[in-house]
Symmetry: C2
Subunit: 365 residues, 2 copies
């Protein structure tokens, strides 16, 4: 494989059996089989986010992916603690949102919310055993040891996300085959699971080399990477691959609501923040009305994922993006609108060119 | 100069007249002439932070630097708006701190505070005209046009810090010769001047390429860079040089109080936060007792730099670091304790080796 010689570190290519060191970030709601298959056709690793899907939906996504390509597939699951619902806290939060319900002429939720995202459980594990994906990735830690052992027994490569060195070491100690170092620049949910402190989250420039030094497994860089320069820089810092999310939201294969897509296209480097208002867990999104008016992080928000249920009536009426999560990383202004396979190839070519440093006298190298 | 061929972009080397593309970050209180001269002897650009110095002190620092080396010198100044002191707000803040004064048996400040850091003014400009440093750098924006014109008339290279693309464009439009892209990972004061929103500050991975794309002048990367990998990554993202602060705090030439030095040595990637408690402006420091108990950012803190005066009685009694700023970037665990000249050479060598990609078959390059 010619490409192998392009990359200073090919451990991730070998581990995942892919041609280009680019992983599609699992993005619930925005990235389904079409996006995953296109990334795979471009030589990267496609991912299907399963946490928010009913089992039949996940089954259909996997089938659609496999109908298009025989490439490796990454199935992503969440490992959060199931939320306990405190009626008082729930009602207090609804009271906070009452002016918005009134303004938009919608009723507040009348019943206690039901979690729409399930942590990885025995049923999900049976699904993995049936589907046998080449890669299984976890967010918010790892599943219990017995379930993890069953996943590993399928032969799947197991990876997890770390937002700190401590989390990376924990993942490595629990046997993951690679660690995703998720810099604070990343869009969507922080993988954090040993800390809940937003203020101390670490930028990728600082996090990545420290994680590389701390673990023996390959490290995948995530957060703020949207072009070939970022990929080259990640390799310079010791990464074996990158995981890219936001840049793929611009692809025609992404399923992004109109308000979200418009916000993404508005550009901007300094208009996102970490917020827990939309789901109950910290995630990076474009600052919108709700974040501005309530402050982006509020400990009173219902626990993950129940905060979302409180906003559901508002989102249903919301063509403006005022009340829905507009997930985005900090580098979205670098993104180009291309089909995902072409984008994957282009990103790899740009990175390879940057790593080869054209223009530098060959004798110096 | 052999080194020139090592770097993909030599504009900063040419602009500053230095051998290695490393700028010492100006660090008030921690980096004086000894540190600056050592960095200069190592081939980098030394800096003397003048904002917190009386004129005679600054004069003495410059003289000490020049007694050691004929290398170029960067004098750094602040451009904040002089604070207006609201007695009510001041007293309210003292009331917040009252339990600490009581616990430590110290008296609260009895008089309204006086700013210990002056913005760049006509007197500072006259100082620059007399000293004629090769480089003048500004934090928190730029001085008024007439003063900036006088600085430029001395022949000095002028640089300024940007924390967003908008700030970078503003600096470029106002005629700076290079822009420092200060990623959110950086220790000490954020250079922010067109925004005061901490939550939307941008990590270097995302900020740097966007700034590079937005301005025509060379861009200096700052924040989270503490070893050669970071320098190589910054070049991959389009930087022409880097500015390093925290890593130099470990040098014997740095003048770091014992509690601060101990905290720096404690390592840790995820134990810093942006805080305005110590000066009134957002800056990154190691989380200590005051930050933990009061929350790191509080809009009630007195305006820069007056917040510091409220803590002065506590700091005087504080061998623990509970009440003083422990400035640090997020990559300090990568630092090594070396004299500053040797560190500068080592950083450049590591970066050059990383950029040359040993191990990759030459035919691929």
């Amino acid at each position: 494989m010619v490409d192998d010689l392009t990359w200073p570190d090919t451990r991730a290519l070998d581990l995942f059996g892919i041609e280009r060191p680019i992983l599609l970030a699992p993005m619930a709601g925005a990235g389904g089989a079409a996006l995953a298959a296109a990334v795979a056709e471009g030589g990267g690793l496609g991912a299907i986010p399963c946490a928010a899907l009913a089992r039949e939906e996940a089954q259909a996504e996997v089938a659609a992916f496999r109908a298009r390509t025989r490439a490796p597939l990454n199935l992503n699951f969440f490992c959060h603690a199931p939320p306990s619902i405190d009626p008082q806290r729930w009602q207090a939060w609804l009271a906070r949102l009452a002016p918005y319900y009134a303004e938009r002429h919608v009723a507040a939720p009348q019943t206690m919310p039901v979690a729409t995202r399930q942590p990885f459980d025995a049923a999900a594990c049976a699904f993995v055993e049936a589907v046998r994906p080449q890669v299984v990735s976890f967010h918010f830690g790892l599943p219990p040891a017995d379930l993890l052992a069953r996943v590993r027994a399928t032969g799947a490569v197991v990876i997890g996300s770390a937002t700190t060195v401590r989390e990376a070491c924990w993942l490595a100690a629990h046997g993951v085959d690679a660690v995703i170092a998720q810099g604070a620049e990343a869009g969507g949910h922080r993988g954090m699971f040993l800390t809940d402190e937003v203020a101390t989250q670490v930028g990728l420039f600082a996090l990545l080399p420290q994680v590389v030094d701390a673990v023996d497994v390959p490290v995948i860089a995530a957060g703020g990477i949207a072009d070939g320069r970022g990929i080259a820089a990640a390799f310079a810092l010791g990464a074996s691959a990158v995981q890219i999310g936001t840049a793929y939201l611009f692809c025609p294969e992404a399923t992004v609501p109109a308000a979200h897509r418009a916000a993404l296209r508005s550009g901007g480097d300094a208009d996102t923040a970490l917020t827990n208002l939309f789901s109950g867990r910290p995630a990076r999104g474009i600052v919108n009305r709700l974040m501005r008016e309530q402050g982006p992080v509020d400990p009173a928000a219902p626990p993950f994922p129940l905060a979302g249920a409180a906003l559901a009536p508002l989102r249903a009426q919301d063509a403006t993006g005022d009340f829905g999560a507009l997930w985005s990383g900090q580098a979205r202004a670098l993104a180009v609108e291309l089909p995902a396979a072409a984008l994957t190839r282009r990103l790899a070519e740009q990175a390879a060119a940057r790593l080869a440093r054209p223009g530098v006298p060959p004798r110096m190298i």
